[in-house]
Every structure is written in structure tokens, then in C-alpha cells.
Symmetry: D2
């Protein structure tokens, strides 16, 4: 569809004199939308081509069709701390994910990492994601469907700390408070050499994980790292890093399953 339709998701990039800000919302012809540079009515949007420019009182708005990134950053519902694209992109590439691979995830949470993993292994591959809470399973399922990736994702009820039913998996991804409880139980589900990527917010968890591995056995440590995303103010006459930034999301530990 080349024109904005009633009920479509829209991404608005609004440019003022010294600022730029993105908004994502559903277009309703009877609604009105407020931005830092002025308001606009839904009726101004319905029917215009995607990629149009709309004048605002104190700036300009570009009306764009949002992609998966925009939806995840702005509107997909979340009921837990989610893994952001900067981390998800690296986690998937650090695991060497390829189409057709079969991977394990726990827990599903709001399904954000699930979506990025599925985007890599789909079609032909599979993400098996375990989640104990039924409300989170429903939310994750709904978000995965919004991304159109439900064909490659199986959301399973169950506590990964009791292991997974699958075998010969190519990789595993743990985003849970106590990953050390899961590492032993999931070991039989993994191919030797399979990467296991663990995401944890605190250094205490990294220490406990590395310490626990000595007694758990069955894994080699490949890397501990963190990714820091620094946004810049995109003004060609006064280019500089943004004053405020997100200083931390979590630590990424990459393990490899042994024989």
C-alpha cells in the first residue's frame, strides 16, 4: 500500500530547529497528535503517500511506514525489561546465527529477543522459547505474531531449570535472573561447540555465573562484553554526542558447549 490508511501504524520523524524526535502511533482520522513542534490531525494523514512531508507550527514531520525496529522501540507492549536492538543484534551475530538453525531461548519475556532470533533462523529454522508465566507467554506470542514470525517460534510452558525437550540445538540464549541454574539442565539439548549467550544486568550475576561454571562444567567461556550505544545530535553545523544517553543495559557472556 502506497498511501497511509485508517488504522495503519505510522512513524513520524519530527524535525524542529534544534531537535529531532520519533513518534509511532496508529493513524485514526478523528484523532489528533501532539509533537514537540506542533500538532496535526489524523485527517491530514489518511490518504497521503508514505514518505510525505507535513508542515507543523514549529517544524516539519515525515510520515513513514514503521519497520520492525520502530515498532519494537516504540509500541510493541512489554511487561518486563526487554533486550534492545543494539544487544539483540550483537547477541545473534555473536552466536553466528544462520537461516535454518534451531535454537533455545529462556525466558521468552515480552518476546523481543525471540523476534530477533526468529528473524535470523526463519524460515526453515526454529526458536523454542521457554517461559513459566502464562501472561508473558501470551504477550510474547502476540508480539511474535505482530512481527509475522510465528511460523518459526514455539513458545513453551515450562521451567528451563528442569531442562528442555529438544536435542541437537545450534545455540541457546538465556535472559533470566539465575542462568547458572539452567546451564547444567540444558547441556544435553545442545550440540557440542554450540554457543550459549547469557544476558545479565549486574556484575554480581556475571561473577556468580563464571564461578558456577567451574563446578557445573560442560562449557568454555568465550567472551564477556557489553555494548554501549552512543547517540549523536544529528546537526551538521553542531555535531556532538547527545548529552543524555542510556549508560547500561546488560552484560553479554558467550559460552560454548563442550563434548
Amino acid at each position: 500500500m502506497s498511501a497511509v490508511g485508517e488504522g495503519d501504524w505510522a512513524l513520524l520523524i519530527v524535525e524542529g530547529r534544534e531537535r529531532r524526535k520519533s513518534y509511532v502511533f496508529r493513524v485514526r482520522s478523528k484523532a489528533s497528535y501532539t509533537t514537540f513542534a506542533g500538532s496535526l490531525r489524523g485527517s491530514q494523514l489518511v490518504g497521503i503517500p508514505w514518505g510525505s512531508r507535513v508542515e507543523l507550527g514549529k517544524g516539519v514531520a515525515y510520515v513513514l511506514k514503521p519497520n520492525l525496529y520502530d515498532l519494537m522501540m516504540h509500541v510493541l507492549p512489554r511487561r518486563s525489561q526487554v533486550i534492545y536492538p543494539k544487544d539483540a543484534g550483537y547477541i545473534a551475530s555473536a552466536a553466528g546465527l544462520l537461516p535454518g538453525m534451531r535454537v533455545l531461548e529462556a525466558g521468552a519475556g515480552s518476546g523481543f529477543l525471540t523476534i530477533w532470533l526468529a528473524a535470523h533462523v526463519c524460515p526453515g529454522g526454529a526458536v523454542y522459547t521457554y517461559e513459566v508465566r502464562s501472561d508473558m507467554r501470551e504477550l510474547a506470542a502476540s508480539n511474535v505474531r505482530a512481527a509475522g514470525l510465528e511460523g518459526c517460534v514455539t513458545i513453551k510452558e515450562g521451567d528451563i531449570r528442569k531442562g528442555a525437550e529438544e536435542r541437537e540445538l545450534d545455540a541457546a540464549f538465556l535472559d533470566m535472573p539465575d542462568p547458572w541454574e539452567a546451564l547444567g539442565p540444558i547441556r544435553p539439548s545442545l550440540k557440542p561447540s554450540a554457543p550459549v549467550v547469557v544476558f545479565t544486568p549486574t556484575v554480581n550475576q556475571v561473577i556468580k555465573l563464571l564461578d558456577a561454571l567451574k563446578s557445573i562444567g560442560g562449557y568454555a567461556v568465550q567472551e564477556v562484553s557489553e555494548l554501549i550505544k552512543r547517540e549523536w545530535e544529528a546537526r551538521p553545523e553542531a555535531l556532538r554526542p547527545a548529552v543524555r544517553m542510556i549508560g547500561h543495559t546488560g552484560f553479554i557472556t558467550v559460552l560454548r558447549a563442550l563434548a
Copy 2:
């Protein structure tokens, strides 16, 4: 195959008392391999199961089957500055890539970003990558084949600054010294709203790009950012960021094509 074979690529994670280092090489029974913690002979490796542990003089080695990440970080040949996984992963996720999408890249370079893009859109999608130098086209083709992704990648001879033949593309990726020369010409190849992600090492290029966009038109700026990867020394009794790190690779500018 569950055992290390003659000629296989192997990833060795070597752990000493205070260090850990990875090595990737082809296993040859008659060769010998030197690590910081001691040497081992190829004949010790051939025939043992993947994921085995081998004692070294001053440490231990884990013998693992390398994945795409390991091959790209250690052995895929490169004849140019490549885009590393931390950036490639974010670039792909910032563009909202999904299986089946059709995207443009220029230039192919050593094919590293090509591989990550293909890993997302494959199968069903396509990466069309333009490269003026024939030696780079051959190198990129060889690396894409090594990753098993040649079915989704078309490496084309041609100067992207004269535009691309394809139409209705979902995204474009520019890793070239003068991306502002390509933005006008490729505009007709892109769907309205399509993300265009530009990777440039210097702030001068970012300034020139943002400045040029005012006269080129046809695009909205969504974001300028950089990703900083900080590795940590993975010692549970003395956890700390590594003393030496890579401080910079490049700046990522995300644009969106207008109507």
C-alpha cells in the same frame, strides 16, 4: 560430524592462569600449533570429539567447531576495513530486516556486511551488492560462499553512484567513502519509508552527509549513533573491563527514504 577431521576449521579457546585467547585454524595432522599457554600437534586433534579438552603446558585448550562469527573474526580473508559483528548486528536490526526482504548494498568490500545482511533476508530475500573493483567482488563472493549464503546474494559490477537497476527495495546499506554521491541515484530504487544505513569512520563524513542531504533531498534523518563494545576480563575473582579495547570503528547514520 562429531569428530575433528583433517582439514576442518577449528576454534581453540585457550585458558591460562590469567588470560584467555581464541585461535582459529585448519587442522592438519602434520602441523603443530603454538599458543600463549603451550603448543599442541595436529595429530592430537584429528579424531577427537568436538568440544574436547586438551591439556597444554601452562593451561588448557577447548577444541570447538567454529561458527560464522568465529570465522569472520579470525580467518575470512579481508582486503579492506570490514564491518564487525557489533556494528553489523545493529545495522541489520536498526533496518528492521526480516526474511524475504530485498536489499541493496554498496560496496561489497570483503563481503562481511553482505554476509550478515544475507543471514537476515535469506532464504526468500535478496542482497544486491555493487562493487567497482573486480578483486573485491571475487573476495566477497568467496566469503559469501564460505558462509553458505550465495543463494541470496548477487554481487554486481558497477558504480552505485550511477544508481542501481533494482526497484522496490526494502532497505539500502552504504559503506563507502562518499555515500552522499550515491543517495540521489539510488533513491528511485527504494520503497518510500525504506531505511538507508550509512557507515562512515570519520565525523567529517557524517557532517558532509548531513549537510549534503539538505540539497539532495528525498530522505529524513532518523538517527546518528555509534556502538562501543567493551570487553571484560572473565575472571570471577577479579572481574574488570579489559585494559585495552577498540575505541572506534565507525558512525552509523540511519535515513528513511521519502515519497
Copy 3:
């Protein structure tokens, strides 16, 4: 004085269950003070020893005598972007400041950098700081007096782009939008080898400065850098970098005067 007196400045470090926050204010027995963990009355503070602990509804407050750092971070008035301690400390040490040195500054601004410079060269040394705006000169003078350093500081009316009257200075510090306009004029005021430290918020200014130096002459470039301060959440059971941080203040360029 070992007890809190009416009208004294106080620093309150308030600890709640998961947060910690500092407040600086003048103690007034008739006032009341609100913190995130509950309120307290001024009458609870007057007369208690410095370093006392006061229970709040949802936490605890420590009542401390603020030092120069606390006053500068919280209450010294500012009418311009100021240079923060992380930058000021490095700027002074990068210039090798020692007691007794005589240095130049422009502009005085709110006097924050002036104070740190004076703290190094005092007593016996001198800071000559030029400022065109009379309101800023008054503010800087007032802040320097609050720090007790007025004996070493001379705040001068004048445009540094026309040069300085002093001679044989040990260092110079430029915090102004167009430092390239001042470099030529101040050159005769500096000892050969003297460091000149320039602080600028944007990369455009750094580029323009480095470019201008080629035609201005008279200086060698020693270093361009930036300092990033990352605060951590100080919880021993869940230690992690703070989620929100200041991502940027400015770039520090160190030059050396030639013969």
C-alpha cells in the same frame, strides 16, 4: 564548627531501599525539606553534629558539611554551561598545574573552571580571567569568593580575541565558542612550551580549531580527547552502571606554545 548551624550549607545524602540521592541547601530551622525518601524539618538539623544520621519515613539521611565539589555540583549559581569536575580535574592535570603558576583563562563564564584552576595555583600563583560580559564577571567573582580563592584570581574586563596584557604565563585555558580567534592574540603572553587547553562542545569546533592552527601557527597539537564519566549504582548485591548517564560534555584539545 562541629554542629550544624542556622544558615549553614548542608549536604544530605539520602538512602532509600534502591536509590541514593544528594541534596545541598542552606539550613533554616523554620523550613522543611522534601526528599524522595521522606521529609524532614530544619529544626531537626540545627544543633546536631556534622555527620549525623537522621531517620526518614522511607530511608535514612546523612547530614554532611559540603565541600567545594558539592557546592559546585549543586548550588553555586550558573548562567552558562559550566565545566564539570571530571573535565576540570583533567584539564588542570593535563596542563601540569602547580602552586605558584600564573595562568590565563577566557572566558570566565560562571567561574567554575576558574575555581579549579585557582585551587591548583593558589597560593603564590595567579589566574587572570577575561570576560566580556559584566553580569558574568560579577557571577564569577561571587563564586570565586564562595570558594575562598579570590586572592589568586583577577577577573578582567576585556575581549581575549584582542590579546592579554600579561606576559610569561605558564598556561592558558579557553572555554569560548571561537577559540581560534584568540590563539594568535594570546601567543605573546605565553612562555614557549606553555600548554593551552581548549574546551569545545562540538566536533565542528575541533575541526575548525585544528584547521585554523595551520594558518595561525605558533602551536603544536599535543592531544584531542574527551572524558566520559560513568556512574554506577552503588548496591553491593546488584552492582551495575547507572541506566541513565551524561553522554557528553565537551572535547579537550591540548596545544603547546612554540618559540
Copy 4:
């Protein structure tokens, strides 16, 4: 002295086509010096004015009188991990140091932090620094003399974990592996509200320190932070952060003594 003399320390900033590097050495007329851009003889240096320019085979050298920063970064001898100017500058400013203050340090180490502390409190103030090792005491004393600050520094034999003899100190600085052992014993030496700044390389030490404080008592936690210095390649036509950087030195914890 305005001319380079035999035996003087010299700072050479050497500029090549794409690089810049600093060297510090003693000038000897019979010696010769090798830089990345070519060699020069000591006889070329003796007698020329400070701030002179010397042509090299593949670049140019600026001959400068080194300041305290240059000497500390390049030539002052060290027999331990030292505290660099970026951290030392912030540590001193975070403690609100002013001329005339009396402060405690442990251990002296190579005397680098001692020097920065003395540069603040001198003259009129005092740094009392405790060190158990006699070889380190001698080294620290020698470095403090090289900086000309010996009048304000007392280097004391003794184990700070048994406390300090001084009373009514304005601040304390701990750069030692087990700072939690010293906090109780030094408490009687500090004025209420005095800042205590602790520098530790690992997160394990930060956790142990914060944990220990609960039972030690007598202190409030003001801040935990780290300073990251990012150097830039100072080329106006291709400005960018340096590819390689120091990723970590240590964590800075600021405490305040209670009543």
C-alpha cells in the same frame, strides 16, 4: 632558561603524515634519538630555543619543555600500577581539595597520586602518605622531589590498616588492594564529613567494599563511578576517535566520614 641545555628533560611532539607521537628524554649532545618519522642528534637540540621546530626525514618535531603531566606520563619511574592524570584530577576535585588542606593517603606506591594531591593542598597544606614497603617509599620520595612538592609531603613507614597518627584530616585517599581493612582504623583521624576516595581496579573490590561498609559503619556512600578517557586522532580532514584506547583503569568510590 629559554634554550635547551645539556641534560635537560625535553618533550618532543613528532608529527608525520598521519600520526603524531610524544617522546620525553634527557638531552645529551652525544646521543641520537629515533622517532617514527626519522632520527635526530642531541647536538641538534642543545642550544636551540624551547618551542623550536626541527625537520625530520618524514615529518617534523617540536622541542618543548615538559611539564609535570609529561614527566608523569613518560618518564617518572614506577614500580606499581599508577593512578593516571584523568583519574587523579577527578579524585582531587571530587574531594573538593583546596590549598591548605591536610590529607591522608595509603599506600604511597610510586607517588603519582601523592604528587597530584600535593599540587592541590600545597603550600600550606600537607599530604601524609603511609607505605609499608621501603623501596616504594624511596621511589615515591624521589618522584615527589622531582615535582618540587616535597615540602608538603610526609612519607611515613607504617601499615594504614593499623590506623594513622594524624587527627582532624580533611580527606583520605586509599589506593590499596583491601581498603575495607583501613576504613575502620582511619576513622578517628578524619573530620566528620571528610571525603574518603577509594580507587580499586575490580568490581569484586567495589562489591566487597560496599558490603563491608555495612558492618564497619562510620561512612556514607556518596558515589561510585569510573572515568573513561577517549583519545581522538587530531586530523582536521579526518577527525575520529583513536582505534585503540585504554578501556579501564579503576573504579572510584567516594565515601563521607560520619560523626
